[in-house]
Amino acid sequence: MSNIEIDAPGTTQLLLGNEAIARGALEAGIGFATAYPGTPSSEIMATLAPIAKKMGIYAEWSINEMVAFEAASAASLSNIRALSSMKANGVNVITDFLVNLQMTGIKKGLVLVVCDDPGGMTSSNEQDTRPIAKWLNIPLLEPSTAQECKDMTKWAFELSEELGMVCMVRSVTYLSHTRGNVRFGRLPEETKKAHFADFYDIDDPQQSKYTCGMQFHPYKQSEVLLKRFSKAQGHCEGSPFNSYNGPNTPDLIIFTSGICWTYATEAVKILNLQDRVGIVKLGTTWPLPEEFVTRHLERSNKVLFIEEISPLVEQSVMELAASLPADRPRPTFYGKRSGHVRAWGEQDLNLVIQSIATVMGTSYRSRQSSNAEYQSTLKEVAKTLPARPLTFCPGCAHRASFWAIKIALQLDGRNGFVTGDIGCTAMGMISPGSFQVRTYYAMGGGVGIANGFGHLNQFGFSQPVIAVCGDSTFFHASIPGLINGVWNKSNFTLTILDNSATAMTGFQPHPGTGITATGETGKKVSIEAICRSLGVSVQVCDPFDLTDTVNTLLKVMRNEGNATVVILRRECELVRARRERKKPYKMYVDSSRCIGEECGCNRICTRVFSCPGLVWDRDAGKAVIDEAVCEGCGLCAEVCPQGAILKEAL
């Protein structure tokens, strides 16, 4: 949809924040880009990969964030600018490497883009990654608009190179996934030459600069790191991405960063307080531009902080204020500490209007709330609207897999349960997955936690444990957990729901597909070959063959005292539909065979199985196919005890 590779300086395109980040990297002249898919970060690599070859860039979807970041570092150390992008959880995965890379520093610009998900709309948590930058002394940039996503990413490479250390660009869902006008700059023309050669010249000319510890005692490297980082402040001090807008002596001054700056700006305008409230926009939130901040702190005796999510700027500015001489003014601080700003979840325009109005002692009525009768009618209507909860797509193999797991656990009868993992399979915890998933934490966490459950038998634990993961999750972080289970003889069944795609984040390829990010044929890695090499029993089933799947699961669950593997393999229906562009079956309900509520099946089709393509015709009292939704997968024909749901091959 976008065309980020054109060399047309001065033209404007409507770009996603993530596309703008990709464009910024192009304008910075990157030669290397890596990522692991994760909402809301995925579009950065999804935009770069298809144009990588043409632009002379190496781009890859890596097996996980750790390898992605390590590989990008290699490019940097070899004189090539490199970008690595991931969601917040990914930074947890790279932290060990990152801590150590900070000790040695880097060579050519290395930028880590992190897309946080305040509110946790598509994540297991709502982690704020920014404190890691403060903890590890990493320069932290927070763009506020799509334009800044491009401009600040480009600047991050320059800064990284200047300081000799990795720089972090932090986005959030509402920035990464918002389209905005972006004015393009120039694409650089330069020949890149990669070569790794850099040796330390202080203590030991024999040891490479890019090693941690040993002769270079970590404390010596810390000293060098702090020296390097101290230069960052000067760069941030003069940055055009820090600015003030407002009267000379406002009644209130707001310190804000990232997407929250747009909320604050719009809220002040909506409240008509432009003459009384000033806004300090911080584009460089670590290190703080201390002189700039101090100068603006003196403008007002009331200061409000608006940011997502942790009070990073709030605490940093308060630390700075505490260090100022006693004769300097001490404003009153409002924010998360004082309770004037919500300390959890994402901010939005409503919340920010509320916070500013409270501190300013004014009130606000919207076009809706200023009409009480209209608003009360809306409240009545709201009560009549059914929610639209998450579900598996029509034709999804996971619906069948969790159905089979549920039946197998019921037949087994020992109160068995499922430990879940990240991705589409996580929906096994809610109704479309028959509520089977009982624990859910992190990539690889399903099989990891199963290791422990599988060793509790000496304390009387007798429940079967089924660890579930997707195919991409298997490669990312589940293999060590499986090996540990095999080695230590833990008692669990790892069930890999292999739909041949990283489906939740947009169908990115992974080692099992054998296709690389740039669409080339890579080496295809076999999940069953990996598992079999460990000497465990491996069964492969098609989850749409419900009888076979249930029987297989039942059998392996009874195989006490060993970790076992079942692969439930069927391609993601959306991937299939996109490729083949036709439905496999035309589905229909034979209304003479459907006997509705009389059947005794508890309406297994629509009440229990609940595929959105198969609906209940209340007037007729029978099931019916919704042809606008049904993908024609044919699975529902198997669940109807009356054989009333029929499929016709297309």
């Binding site: 920035l175 919207s366 809706q368 209209y374 606008a628």
Partner: protein, 210 residues
């Protein structure tokens, strides 16, 4: 291209629907046409985690002043709401509606899982439509999915509704710019999209306009 003055700045539009109906594409097409017409636009597609059949709402803010608008509308501040599904229009009307709002709605329901399983009821359709009429200053009501099925695929409902939006003259958009965007972005289905776009424009003329 210099942008025409707006009745309000920013002018706020919501496209509400269900995952799989083509919300994201529609908001992108509208946004692209507006950028070509010289406006500053922000477009946020609120689609959460589900690929298909979750509630989706695209928030579009149109401005002549600058590109610094925040991504989401605030309470009661929609100027136009397009509903690709009736209760999704209502859901957004509840949060963002006001007595001056303009509504364009596809009458074809997509049933949530809870309705299919019988745990909750879908509101009676005629009543829901009546509520939309009552709570908007102006409304256009049409079965865009049925029209789209006549063109061979329910997905064309989005371009039919785009045509209706164009025909309603509520946005500073002209037909030629929109056609240009459709030609460039979706060349393979351009002919069918033209039929769909014009059908939508006709429907606005034909359907009852309060």
């Amino acid at each position: 291209m210099s942008a025409r003055e707006l009745s309000k700045d920013p002018l706020n539009v919501i496209i509400a629907g269900v995952g799989g109906q083509g919300n994201v594409l529609m908001s992108f097409l509208i946004g692209s046409a507006l950028v070509r017409s010289g406006y500053f636009v922000t477009v946020f597609d609120n689609y959460g985690a589900s690929q298909r059949l979750g509630a989706v709402a695209s928030h579009i803010k149109i401005s002549r002043e600058g590109a610094n608008a925040s991504p989401l509308l605030h309470e009661g501040d929609a100027d136009v709401i397009v509903g690709m599904e009736p209760i999704e229009l209502l859901r957004n009307l509840i949060r963002f509606g006001n007595p001056e709002v303009i509504a364009i709605v596809n009458t074809r329901p997509v049933y949530p899982i809870g309705v299919i399983s019988g745990e909750v009821d879908y509101p009676e359709l005629n009543k829901a439509i009546e509520t939309i009429r009552r709570l908007s200053a102006q409304s256009w009501i049409m079965n865009a999915t049925e029209e789209a099925l006549r063109l061979g695929n329910p997905i064309y409902a989005n371009v039919i509704l785009l045509g209706a939006l164009l025909g309603s003259n509520t946005l500073p958009l002209d037909k030629e710019t929109m056609e240009g965007v459709l030609k460039e972005e979706l060349p393979k289905v351009f002919d069918t999209n033209m039929v769909a776009l014009h059908r939508g424009m006709d429907l606005v003329r034909e359907t009852m306009n309060k």
